[in-house]
């Protein structure tokens, strides 16, 4: 394993130093990333966070029209309550704070603890759980939060920027999650700096279906196939859970080690699939947004838009990772 790091122990801190140096719009203190111009009085604050290794998620989405603060944990490790408490207090502009939490046991527990411990700030939470690879049953920790997190952060962020109250911001965040589904496929494992070797072995001939974003192995291993078939596999899993219809927001997301060219190849197939079902790709995003270190592979996230969600998606955003 070769990585552009100084040491496995300092990688998160070092990367945050780089972010601070690169983005004057951010302020970074005690492993929390803030908008330099926040908090804004009367605006609902948005706080998210989770393990590092998914860049640009979440810290890259701090800025106008999206998050007010992000709490990056160690690699693939949920942040600790201290970070979340600090962030929540700091971004409160008097209108309360929304926690956007990906559904992982660790994230849920740490955000819950923090929410309980914050005093004087009204806190609401939305749980993102869009990954159809995981059954939401008594036999699992519930669906994982993956690509839809970006949609939730963007759309809730836009509504908060308009001055909507906490309840409404939380409601739209929940609606986006309910209307969104994801599925991911890995061509390779990722390698965490501490482990120093791939989390799982995946032969040249196979891919993992239904992976998460932490290098967890997927639900099944199948032979490698052309992009068309892999895209269809992902889309069938999504369509089987939430039928594709109407106007869709579609993201083809790289897992970190896959070049953009291949993501466009996949997007072409995804778009053709959507068309085949009589639905429409109304908005789209192609790139590395919710990653898993250096993993090669992709995920697709689909959200059924309505007029409000489309308007909020289109609203201006100005963050290191998303800007228009």
């Amino acid at each position: 394993m070769k990585k552009l790091i100084n040491s496995a122990d300092s990688v998160v801190a070092d990367a945050l130093k780089g972010m601070a140096a690169a983005h004057p719009t951010l302020r970074i203190r005690d492993q929390v990333v803030y908008r330099a111009d926040g908090p804004r009085r009367g605006k609902v604050g948005l706080v998210s966070g989770g393990g590092s290794g998914h860049e640009p998620l979440h810290a890259g989405f701090v800025g106008y029209g999206m998050l007010d603060a992000a709490c990056p944990g160690e690699i693939f490790t949920s942040p600790v309550p201290d970070q979340i408490i600090e962030a929540t207090k700091a971004v409160d502009g008097g209108a309360g704070v929304l926690h956007i939490v990906k559904n992982y046991t660790g994230d849920v527990l740490n955000f819950e603890m923090a929410a309980e411990l914050v005093e004087d700030v009204e806190v609401a939470s939305v749980l993102v759980d869009d990954d159809v690879a995981v059954q939401d049953s008594l036999y699992t920790a519930g669906r994982r939060g993956t690509g839809a997190t970006l949609f939730v952060e963007k759309i809730a962020g836009a509504l908060a920027e308009e001055g909507a109250p906490l309840d409404d911001v939380a409601a739209v965040a929940g609606a986006v999650d309910e209307r969104s589904r994801s599925f991911g496929i890995a061509l390779t494992s990722c390698t965490t700096p501490h482990a120093g070797k791939p989390t799982f072995d995946l032969p040249e001939t196979d891919v993992e279906l239904g992976i998460g974003i932490h290098g967890e192995p997927g639900r099944a291993r199948v032979p490698m196939a052309p992009a068309r078939e892999l895209a269809a596999t992902a889309m069938e899993a999504i369509h089987g859970d939430l039928p594709l219809q109407g106007d869709l927001l579609v993201m083809v997301n790289g897992m970190g080690g896959t070049p953009l060219m291949e993501l466009y190849v996949v997007f072409a197939e995804v778009a053709a699939y959507v068309k085949g079902k009589g639905a429409r790709v109304s908005r789209s995003l192609v790139g590395n947004y919710v990653t898993s270190l250096d993993m090669q592979g992709f995920s697709v996230t689909v959200c059924r838009l309505d007029d409000t969600l489309t308007r909020l998606w289109d609203a201006p955003v100005d963050t290191p990772g998303l800007r228009w």
């Binding site: 490790t77 949920s78 046991t105 036999y139 501490h194 482990a195 799982f200 290098g215 639900r219």
Partner: protein, 205 residues
């Protein structure tokens, strides 16, 4: 059982976790996200620091301080869970500390984890090592065995409990995403729980 014993418990655990850090991470790589050893090692380093910088004056203070340090530094699922074991145990512990008191308080800690993690024995989590350890302590109290012997029985029960997670299919935590593919691997949290109990047996002897 005095303050020093409780401090020694965490110091010995820190040593064992440092020694087994890569093994724990490897176990987590197989059915999770390859960070459990690193997480816990970071947390126990913080526990030692906290216990050195603010020397505790009672077993309760050791437990509260350690639990808080774990919550503040581990992150992930195991941080809040282990933190709760020891904070809750600290809340429940009467002084002076007897084996019976220890056993009862420890069990409250385990119940706190079960409640927080919504996990029951058989779900392939740390509960599968902690619950048998707690039961072993309770039995030892009932049978009137000595502290050293009691802790050794608890350590054995935890180790067996950890090993018993191998054939289980995970229903909680990250490993549950794997469905049937989680079968055949030891749960990393159960393995680290066994280290906590092994450390206890060592410092009591």
């Amino acid at each position: 059982m005095d303050t020093d014993l409780f401090v020694a418990w965490f110091e010995e655990t820190a040593r064992l976790v440092r020694r087994d850090r890569d093994r724990l991470t490897r176990l987590d790589a197989a059915i999770g996200d390859a960070d459990h050893g690193t997480n816990l090692d970071r947390g126990l380093t913080e526990v030692r620091k906290a216990l050195t910088e603010w020397p505790p004056e009672s077993p309760v203070q050791v437990l509260t301080s350690a639990g808080t340090a774990l919550i503040r530094r581990v992150g992930g699922a195991s941080g809040p869970l282990y933190g709760s074991v020891f904070r809750q145990m600290g809340k429940a512990l009467d002084s002076p500390v007897t084996l019976a008191g220890f056993s009862a308080a420890f069990d409250e800690g385990v119940v706190a984890v079960e409640r927080l993690g919504k996990a029951a024995p058989g779900d392939k989590t740390m509960v599968d090592a902690l619950a048998p350890a707690s039961r072993a302590l309770a039995l030892a109290v009932r049978d009137g065995v000595g502290v050293r012997e009691a802790f050794e029985q608890a350590a054995r029960a935890a180790a067996e409990g950890a090993r018993a997670t191998i054939p289980m299919q995970a229903r909680k935590g990250r490993a549950s995403y794997l469905g049937e593919r989680s079968i055949g691997h030891e749960d990393p949290g159960a393995a680290s729980s066994a280290l906590f109990m092994a450390a206890l047996a060592t410092v009591a002897s």
